[in-house]
């Protein structure tokens, strides 16, 4: 094309393309907008969305596996051993609870929602819920405490454990003082320290009964 031809072609082309562009934009002007008016209208989130953690403390056996799995260390668990005379009950999965859990804190501000804590849980008590609106003005409010034990209760549990350990130590000392008298007895008392683990009741048992 000659220089003059290019010149006229460019002018025509620029006007023509502007018209094409304006046609597209006007079409969008009258299409429905894609915006969801968030606080008033909420989008449906996926069924298995990973959002705020929730712990069903009644099922927690204090195994600490979630805390170990956590890549950002946002779960803090403290446990107190129970004495043989106390019955902590069963979880809903029929696991015997042997530890008190006086502290189960999740710093949700640190949480990265990876869900790695959910899978190792043997009793499925730590789960991710679909709650995603939990903003706070104070960062301290984002540390969630799930334990339902009061300070007095945990103090009492600690005291019982110390008393039990003390008794155990006294027994041990007594056994050590007279080792030749009954070696079998001394061995059996030494083994008491964690109460002997009973085999788990078979899951099929309720059906039988």
């Amino acid at each position: 094309m000659s220089a003059l031809g290019t010149y006229f072609y460019n002018i025509f082309h620029s006007l023509y393309t502007v018209v094409i562009g304006m046609k597209i934009t006007i079409k969008h002007l009258f299409t429905r907008s894609a915006t969801v008016q968030y606080p008033t209208v909420k989008m449906k989130i996926p069924e298995r969305a990973r959002n705020r953690l929730f712990v069903n403390i009644d099922d927690c056996i204090g195994c600490d596996q979630c805390s170990i799995a956590c890549p950002v260390d946002c779960i803090t668990i403290e446990t107190i051993k129970s004495t043989p005379d106390m019955d902590l009950g069963m979880t809903s999965k029929n696991t015997k609870k042997r530890l008190y859990v006086p502290r189960f804190d999740i710093d949700i501000a640190k949480c990265c929602y990876c869900g790695l804590c959910v899978w190792p849980c043997p009793t499925e008590c730590i789960v991710m819920t679909d709650v995603y609106e939990f903003a706070e003005f104070d960062r301290q409010n984002l540390i969630y405490s799930f334990s339902n034990m009061t300070v007095e209760e945990s103090a009492a549990a600690k005291e019982r454990l110390e008393k039990y350990n003390g008794e155990l130590a006294a027994k041990k000392a007594a056994a050590a003082a007279a080792p030749k008298e009954s070696p079998v007895a001394s061995i059996s008392t030494a083994l008491v320290t964690p109460p002997p683990i009973k085999p788990e009741p078979p899951a099929a048992e309720p059906n039988k009964g």
């Binding site: 304006m22 934009t25 969008h28 002007l29 008016q37």
Partner: protein, 347 residues
């Protein structure tokens, strides 16, 4: 105007009142245009814009304005203090002065001088000084770039604008915008875009040239108010915010107001030069001083809508492209139109 004069019977008071009238209009118009711009912009991009302040966010422009008024007025330490302070007001004055010669209605024109169109072109250049002043005084590279680009752009595009005005003036035989509008009164067929109220042979010959003039005038008027696709002075991807980067609060608001007031001015000029200004498109139906204001504002608003529409359609031009368009396309074509119109009017 005579009515207001008899009401107050004080020449000074009347002139103050009359000169303040467009200011009230500008503020109200800017609120409406801001809202329109945001809504159109959003809907073109399939969004919804303001929704929470009032019904569909109608109060948002007012809230924005109040926010700007409350903001701190920051002046950089290294800035040229005096120029920095004065610049927004110079820019706004340049814009505001143009309102003196806009014929809002057959009964209202700020100043009925016989050099209206000429005055308008001259006053439009004053805005350049304000913008250049702001760019220089900010002592900021981006601001200076913006200011210089703006000066280059506005001066270049002044020429097509002036030529377009000359063509219309050749047809109407008057520089007074009121007379230009009166010349086109009497229905859509009398508008200069369609050749004006001339014998039909002349009209038919004039029509293609006036149409081209009208389009060129429209393009150059967009360039003169620094809007996309000609928004090089405030090209945010390259120059942060151009000449008003360092401005905040009230002074920034002045620039903003000036920009939108200018938008109306150029639309109003195109309307009164080519589209019959305040005259009704249906001849004597719906015409009169009050309807005149309605038609004038409605036509200008339509033009602003097209400018907004263009803004969200086109990307920004390069600097050399901008100059190419002005000097190698618009100006020569207008010269051709000028010659042709002159020839047709003579025969």
């Amino acid at each position: 105007m005579e009515f207001i004069q008899t009401l107050f019977a004080n020449q000074l008071l009347v002139s103050i009142l009359l000169s303040a009238l467009p200011l009230v209009f500008i503020v109200l118009m800017v609120l409406v245009v801001l809202y329109t711009e945001m809504k159109v912009a959003a809907h073109i991009q399939d969004r919804v814009a303001y929704m929470r302040t009032g019904w569909h966010g109608v109060l948002q422009p007012i809230a924005d304005m109040l926010k700007l008024l409350q903001k701190e007025d920051i002046i950089p330490t290294k800035a040229d203090k005096v120029l920095f302070r004065v610049a927004p007001f110079v820019a706004f004055t340049g814009t505001y002065v143009a309102y003196a010669v806009l014929p809002f209605s057959s009964m209202y024109i700020g100043s009925n001088i016989n050099l209206g169109a000429f005055f308008l072109v001259a006053a439009g250049s004053l805005v350049v000084i304000g913008i250049l002043m702001a760019g220089w005084a900010s002592n900021n590279k981006w601001s200076l770039f913006g200011g210089i680009r703006s000066a280059a752009q506005m001066i270049s595009y002044e020429i097509p604008t002036a030529l377009g005005v000359i063509i219309v003036v050749m047809i109407t035989g008057s520089l007074n915008l009121q007379d230009v509008t009166k010349f086109q009164d009497g229905g859509i067929g009398n508008w200069i875009v369609f050749g004006g109220p001339l014998p039909w042979t002349q009209k038919l010959m004039l029509m293609p040239f006036t149409l081209v003039t009208f389009i060129i005038m429209f393009v150059s008027s967009i360039a003169e108010v620094n809007r996309t696709p000609f928004d090089l002075p405030e090209a945010e991807s390259e120059l942060v915010q151009g000449f008003n980067t360092e401005y905040s609060g009230m002074r920034f608001a002045m620039f903003y107001l000036s920009e939108y007031a200018n938008l109306f001015t150029v639309s109003a000029v195109v309307v009164s030069l080519f589209l019959g200004g305040w005259s009704s498109p249906f001849a004597s139906f719906m015409s009169g001083p009050i309807w005149g204001i309605f038609w004038f504002v409605a036509k200008a608003y339509l033009f602003m809508l097209i400018q907004i529409w263009l803004r969200w359609t086109l990307p920004r031009l390069r600097v050399d492209q901008l100059m190419f368009v002005s000097w190698k396309v618009l100006t020569p074509w207008l010269f051709v139109c000028l010659l042709a119109v002159g020839f047709i009017l003579v025969i």
